[in-house]
Subunit: 260 residues, 5 copies
């Protein structure tokens, strides 16, 4: 890893990255309750919030919408992806090159690795190649570190989450996105075994705002450096209100009681 402190996707070493790769990863069903968010412009608008240090999208969305937001949004180019229709071993192939992302003006790259899948080896090799390209392009690398597969009983279990964090360090990511392991002790252990690597909390499926903010607060208290969040922002009626609260939790050391 290299320090992300001096990169656009981090502010004082902390980050709030919005992810909107769900159109590909989960399909338009994610927009059903809030159809206006099916328009990527709506999510780019949300991402102009001061608290947001980056927006992670796939190639087509970036190419189409990012040029109108290049002054107000930091682009995290999500290089690999898959749909929810595909069965079999969990695997996410590279579908965007670092070179092309850099040309578009990306500020960082994002890459998912499903460790433990029968195709772990392919993803390790492909991630390694993307990481080297990112080094050459001087772009930081955010790893979606997601254990999955026959040997993974519970991908939210503290041991699994800690393993995910350590994998980020070992594979040379500059930041790793991990699941919330359920407790502050779990977060602390994951943070500890990640060494100098900043870890971000994965937002996951939409829950009540309070529940979500409590998890974020615990994650920050345990040493986390922010979060990567999608549905818990753009599936809400008022994403700005939630981002205001996240800003205080992540960047201003507020407690959850302060913001609720």
């Amino acid at each position: 890893m290299r320090s992300v402190v001096d990169t656009p996707i981090s502010r004082d070493g902390r980050s709030i990255i919005i992810a909107m790769d769900h159109g590909l990863e989960r399909g338009p069903i994610v927009f059903e309750d809030n159809p206006e968010r099916a328009d990527p412009s709506a999510v780019f608008d949300i991402a102009t919030h001061d608290a947001v240090t980056g927006l992670a999208v796939h190639q087509g969305v970036a190419e189409t919408y990012y040029p109108s937001y290049d002054d107000s949004v930091n682009l995290v180019a999500k290089l690999n992806g898959k749909t929810s229709m595909v069965m079999g071993d969990r695997y996410s192939p590279p579908i965007w090159s670092v070179e092309s992302a850099a040309e578009l003006g990306a500020d960082a790259i994002g890459y998912t690795v499903y460790t433990g899948s029968n195709r772990e080896a392919d993803m390790f090799s492909e991630f390694a190649a993307a990481r080297e390209d990112a080094r050459d392009a001087d772009l930081p690398v955010v790893l979606w570190s997601y254990p999955r597969g026959q040997g993974v009983n519970d991908h939210n279990a503290p041991d699994t989450v800690a393993y995910a964090a350590r994998i980020g360090l070992e594979l040379g990511a500059d930041m790793a996105k991990i699941k919330y392991p359920g407790t502050r002790e779990g977060v602390e252990w994951a943070v500890r075994v990640a060494g100098e690597l900043p870890v971000l909390m994965s937002g996951g499926a939409s829950v009540s705002e309070e529940a979500f903010l409590r998890d974020v607060a615990t994650f920050m208290a345990g040493g986390g450096k922010g979060l990567t969040v999608g549905r818990n922002i753009w599936q809400r009626a008022n994403p700005t209100a939630t981002l205001d609260k996240l800003e205080r939790l992540v960047f201003e050391d507020a407690t959850v009681e302060d913001v609720l």
Copy 2:
């Protein structure tokens, strides 16, 4: 995506593309009721109709017949293909390079992706590579966006069609060909989740002219930008008559009652 408005395969943002990849994809049985259409020249002749913005064929057909029609037909180079004889996971390999298609004078490239197939990942990666080559050659990219596989119960279902449309946007196509989802609401949702990406209706198997035109009219009313049609044109006794009607539906905002 990039806007196709200024490319030959679109007129005022709308398109009627004739596809004749069926000789490879389905075999000569498709010509049995109208044997003269087995001669590609006959289909190239049809494609000289004013309403037609492009003709999609495979490499061998293009190389053999397109040079005689390069003034009167816009070539959509269909880069990948398979036969109906092959069993197993749905997969269509690249069999024509963008470079070679561009040399022949192609106006656009066409590419099929069977999302949901066990080989989705291969097709995603290969499509991404073709798309980058097409960018370099300054050619627009039309995606045949076809969900197929174990996880796809009904590839004409509105949710599946909407997913197919969104995939076109996420993968960076410039236009996507999707199935007709059965209702205007289905079309509207697919169009909405595709964002700025123009979607074209897939013609499908031959049906009565009226039934076909009603579907096209509904597709246009729902926000579609035209169609890619094969058998419903060149399997008919009088393709010109049908194209005359399609021209009014697609480019002149006529209703189906106007044209019948």
Copy 3:
């Protein structure tokens, strides 16, 4: 395809190509009844007959024997091959490069594709690559178009043979070798759906000379452009006599009654 009329492997648009790839494809057992033909020189000698427009052999045989015959034989470089010992999905990998064949002085390339096999996709891609290389080297491409696999019940059935012929056109071969479909109607349909692509009859296993010549005559009457023949020539006691008759059938519009 490009016209083969002006290439050495065609005379006035018609061809008789001798194939001797059987040493690899079927093993030396094919030489048991006529052991002297195990010597490739003997088959090269046969191929010096005026009626023969080309001899198709694998790399090793070509490299060893062709230099002594480069004035009297046109070389069809058979680029891919397999043995009869291998089980599993029908697949023939590339084992000779166009570049190396061209250096040796080849007049054309030959390539087998087993459409319908579970490895159809690999063979399509590899054939496409070889075809592009052949274009660069200005060599015509002869496709051995052989449907095989789970989805192919009878590879001599007229529909299957017609499909094979069309595949030759769609994939951009300059000539296709297909099975004899059993009737003149079958030949006519295959010829029709192949468009401008010349189709050659596959010789197949040895049969009586009369039966063989009758098939050839019907094939020519149905619009075929000649044949690619192996065992029905070099497994015979007197190949020259048979070639004399084939010459009249293929190039001089003789009937089978004329030559018998």
Copy 4:
């Protein structure tokens, strides 16, 4: 192989290499009894001990921590790796390039090959490629020679360990890490069949210090050239004390009785 005598990872032809690839290979659970060792700096500190001729870590750990230790630690760049979560055939893909490792200042490369696995062939080819790159970069190559798979009943059996040693010689490693085969005779046979190739003992899971030192002493007495050790060092409360003893055993021909 080339002689490692004149390289930093060997002293008078003998080596003590500390391995800390376990964060990736086995997960943070290896740090549970000694959580401070989860911090790679703690292990780099241990590796500054005079007896240590190299420290083997993966790319991310090297890139993050090695720059602070480049004067005091010799870096063995571990080029391939896997996690313990993955099921199926044992396989470790390349995830770091020799070129990138050399750029960081690596003194040697390390590579694991699971001979006998169904993916032996892939690992042989990939190791061969890495080895050629290492030759170009003038870096010695340490092979983790680990037989695994259906055909391997007991990877600690003397015959298997001897085979592992010979594989190191045959594949062109400059040093091979093998299991302790249980007896001095076993070590001698492995050393003999390795020819001029130096073999190092694999440390394995933590055991009592005395048991460990006895194995090392026997290994050295049998002709071994040192060891590669991980958990038996950094899982201990006092690694320095153990390293002091190892130094005497490995470099000063001390007996186990001398050091206990």
Copy 5:
């Protein structure tokens, strides 16, 4: 093929090549009865015998020991290999490049192809690539032509051995190593179908010296051009004595009665 007559590995068109790839292919167990032969130097010494036209070893052994023997031994660089521990389809991957072998001073390359294996296609393609590289480096190619797999009942059967010989010719080897087919007639047929390609007898497992020499004599009488021998030389107490006899059989047309 190209003539090997003017290359170092042949004398007047005949060859005795010693193979010592068994350390990798079968493991050190082959050295158990004669442990001093585990030292590659001992086998290089044997190969300095005047009768020996080449020594075939893998990369690591060649790199380590050949430089001391480059004046007295001709190196056959064995480019591919596998161990006896691996299960599944018979396959031997390339683990040494022609370029690297040529740099070390190799006089020829050796390559094993397991025809009939489910991985025949991979080996055919990889052999073809190696052969082209060898042509560029002007090195003759010796094929270990070994039918194996589901479709091969008995790899010593005369038909199978003849097929193996023909494969050598068809694939463009310059020399092929085949099994002894049991009878002089079997040898004659294999030699005949190989055309101009010289065939060498594979030594196989150790048998009594007399039995071995009788096979060699029959092989030579049937038209063979020598042998590639390993265990029947270096597993013997007195390899020189056996080589003296082989020299007379192979190069001096002696009968087995002459030499016994």
